[in-house]
Symmetry: D2
Subunit: 360 residues, 4 copies
């Protein structure tokens, strides 16, 4: 890495006049570039966000306690507890662009309907029994499923069982907040449909590989397939590893199977700001350290292993969540077969021409 030292352009003997100049700048709401360029134009991305790991074993009990103490309902809207990156000054931002939270819904509870410009998804690391109703379409939530709530789609959740359920939410709240693109609207105080079908209407229309309904030829900004079932994800990854065993190109690198969840109308990312992927490593596989522009969040779905973030290794267990800020080197090490869900802001980075990757 290059070392960048911006020398001060100012002449020291002009100090009083300079001080006056700077004071006059301030009075006019101006600031010179030359005093801050080192900070605002770094040689490589220097995120304030830090790599950090949240343990599921600590998250889940806190979610349970919230379930006892905090009713879910209109106003607060969701019993969601955001992961606050320690480098981001006390905001519930897991990275400068992404929000990640654990959400908890008690037995028979309903989280009321609303919609917002922010794009959202849920990923289920364990449990079942909740349906999320998206634009009136009830979508079952079960272990391993990815469920989408693209921007400006009404959605609410209800727990159809006598046991609680928790899952993670991912949104582009920080991005939307920073760039002032958010809109919000309340919907029904209940969910509009309490049916509990095994498959949502979106799946029934779209979850047929390579088949597009003739009534749905318009491409959509976000995926019309609102549920990506674990059964399919697991099978796709299993097949990649089997193909690798047969000597066929299929995995992304040796012993590393991976899929990207995509919008079937375009083959591109499921939502315009958020990429979702699932990775499976064979036991004992170590991925090479990789730096990427943009930030990512991983959750361990199954298996044992560790992550190395900026050369520091941490053991991971099921449910653990970690964030990789921009340009932080990351590597995965699998002890057993190791399954991880990943989401990131890569569509933002790529669509705006900022993508770079460095594999060490």
């Amino acid at each position: 890495m290059v070392d960048k030292s911006h020398n001060n352009m100012t002449k020291q003997d002009d100090a009083p006049q300079l001080r006056q100049l700077y004071a006059d700048f301030e009075a006019e709401h101006l600031m010179p570039l030359w005093t801050q360029i080192d900070d605002i134009m770094p040689v490589v991305p220097s995120p304030k966000a830090v790599p950090y790991i949240w343990k599921w074993s600590r998250l889940f009990p806190l979610a349970e306690r919230s379930g006892e103490l905090v009713p879910v309902g209109r106003g607060g809207e969701r019993r969601a507890i955001g992961l606050a990156n320690p480098g981001l000054g006390g905001k519930a931002y897991v990275s400068p662009t992404l929000w990640a939270a654990i959400q908890y819904l008690g037995p028979r509870e309903t989280a009321p309907e609303h919609r917002h410009a922010q794009n959202a998804f849920r990923f289920v690391v364990e449990g079942e029994g909740v349906w999320t109703v998206v634009n009136g379409d009830p979508v079952r939530m079960s272990r391993g499923d990815l469920l989408l709530t693209p921007g400006w789609h009404f959605h609410g959740h209800h727990n159809d069982t006598d046991h609680p359920m928790a899952w993670i939410d991912g949104l582009d709240i920080p991005f939307s907040y920073h760039n002032d693109v958010g809109f919000f609207e309340f919907g029904s105080d209940r969910v509009t449909d309490y049916a509990t079908p095994r498959f949502s209407r979106g799946e029934r229309l779209w979850a047929h590989p390579g088949l597009r309904p003739l009534s749905q030829l318009q491409d959509t900004v976000s995926s019309p397939l609102g549920a990506y079932r674990w059964e399919f994800t697991d099978r796709a990854l299993t097949e990649q590893l089997l193909l690798e065993d047969e000597g066929q190109p299929a995995t992304v690198e040796l012993g590393h199977a991976a899929i990207r969840y995509v919008n079937p109308t375009t083959g591109g990312d499921v939502m315009p700001t958020i990429r979702c992927e699932f990775h499976r490593l064979r036991a004992n596989i170590v991925t090479p350290p990789r730096r990427e522009v943009g930030s990512s969040v991983f959750q361990v779905f199954e298996g044992a292993g560790s992550v190395v973030l900026n050369r520091k290794e941490t053991k991971l267990e099921k449910g653990d969540i970690f964030v990789v800020p921009s340009w932080v080197a990351w590597s995965l090490q699998a002890e057993t077969q190791f399954d991880l869900f990943r989401f990131s802001d890569a569509p933002v980075i790529e669509r705006l021409g900022f993508a770079r990757t460095l594999v060490e």
Copy 2:
């Protein structure tokens, strides 16, 4: 429809000089527009191709007789019998752009490998037991399946059973021939892999709804999913009709379910020159007469009904094939649930800006 009468621009009293002029044109390889504009620039498409119906009950026995008399092998390459549109002057063109043929492979036979710029597919109206090997990937062929052989992919077929099998081939041979875009190359005289797996490698990588292998992020001109299985097609159509029963938008028009086979890397047509679709009509549904620019071929897959082509109704049975030339009005009438496979040159028409549809 407008009646267009191009008056002759020539003055009759100049006849001898005109005759000399026309002779001089001919000597210089020139032809005036004004004498032929009525033919070459019609008011609406006036195809030489005619609507025509081939009966499976007559096609299949002829294919069987070919199986007895004509060995399959290098040179002739395929035991394929092309449907020759009666309006197209004795060429085996089902339409000006499309080739359709019945192909027949006897017990234990092999059709040798070759590749060509022309795009091809097979659709199986009945039978099983043949594998087509596409770029080294053995692909099972069974009733209701659509199998792709995009341009410049090596392919050969072999029959792994003791019974013969027939299916239909669709290609863009006439388009390629007319526009001089064809290349051809021989491959192995055998197929390169006699394995008979239930699922091809392409399916194992790609036939997972909304899941894209991370190793396959480059979009492809033609679909990387070489087999579209009947099981999925049938389920997709079934769901559309069930959704319609529930009052949900899903079908293309009342009682008419339909899917388009698509390239999962783009959501668009499976190949750049050929569109493939499957249509299912409920019993007693009649579709409104429709005129479209470009030509289509339909094959009845199951059920009973009829087609009205230019106001003439014809009964159809399983396996029957009919062609709809450009701008010919067509309508389907279902007696029972009525399943039809369709292919067309619509991608050519749409990509070049010529698409129009008129529903009467």
Copy 3:
């Protein structure tokens, strides 16, 4: 080049049964692939169209004689004389996809308005004084200009002077005819606007480099800029050669400047079926023999040189037109600075995935 010999698959001793089979095929409008595959699936494109050169010195006098003998008007529509490729059986097709004609308009004459799905352009090798009125917008035609008449745009021409004028027309008539995509409609028997402005409204809106009217943010299938003026083309080519003199990358190959006329809303071809380019070679430059899929037509605009088509060299003079069928090797040889206009069916070939080039 590969030699391909398709052996006959048929067994000679089955001749009588075979003859009966073939007769039965014919009765059912069927034709076997194996007897015709050599013709319809050639190893490389084997166009029926031949390379051919039309001399302007013979074309123009014939156009003049037409001007005396044939009135222009409704019905025949245009005094256009099509170049008939000697290989294409007496049709006025310069290639299987393209139409090229010399059009002639006498003093004060009007060619009435009409529109058609076929895409058209005019290129002016000499003269001035005619305005073509495209969707009501009068467009001046002067030496070196390219004027567009995209599909379904009304257009008529009128000669505002006391001298005749001739130019070439290029259209996709053969492509449209073969594929049955053509529609035609009469418009005014006169042109709808006899004004003779120096610049059309399309130019006034669009002919500003890199500037897009905020009122015109919708991309269009064909270019909204209907006139590409010689002044700009000449300057662009001049600059490319000057940049080359300065050691900068600018020309397409050494001593060979070239521009493609493009749609400013997309940067792509001016019309969906026709590519237009202008090429300038320095004196003594020889381009390497090149084979391309698809057909092209060139017209010499200025200078002296020759073309080598399939190893046969022919001298060319101003106005001479030659056609390069698909996969025919062509090379240009410049004696002086050598300017040529070119049009081709390349957008068809590229959009449908058939493009290949071989530089020898």
Copy 4:
């Protein structure tokens, strides 16, 4: 506007346990959604940035004083004084995404070369005499010109005259900083080419309307045309108003001509994060109040008028700069013919699916 009141979901009688829960959240770097949803998910965009106007008459003298006191050179890199939105906490951000600065270069001075991932442009409201050297190509800067420095292009400036020159810079520094996408690299301490040609090589290749060099067929992320000259902009706007006078559709609304600067390889925005436009209002035209998602900066180029921002009108003079944060209603009022340059983050907003506009 909707009034949104998020009620507190917490039960008051659980206060001690709640306080403990919140403390435990904090210890684990967690934050509940329900206490902050009102802030982070507003009903409509509620930017911290405020509408603000900087007077050229105050900016320019401060830039001059900087010229006396602060040498330009390596380290500080540029004598650029950033406009600091009063709502953004003392950072030199004109909006959450955009940077705007006045840059000043004294007689014979050189600003050294560097490159960065951030996209940049310069717009010249007055003066001339400086050349910016972009990837080795010297680009003249004159009144009314827009000059591009897309991401990762080396660039430096030098003043070839004995008088100083000032202009405005626009960059995506805040966006890049917030999202951690920035890279920076020093280049030559001088500019690599002190030539002062009237036209850059980029212009000589690309500034020909509708003509694309055949050597440049690859589309580029940012415009290859690095200079948009005032002469063309002025002519385009003049023609739009003349066309309007003639009753033709050309202006964006009555009396309001406008162009967008575009990438000629695509017809889209000049850079992936920044849109640049130029607007001209006839005297006495008032535009309807408009709210848009995303932020914009305007600079008055010529004429007199005012802007209404959130119902507050402010008079504007030549050179004045104002910012319109997201969803702030803005309207322009022209006293004389009124010319304004505009830039915005609209490509970010549109590519990520957040665009909305409300015209009141």
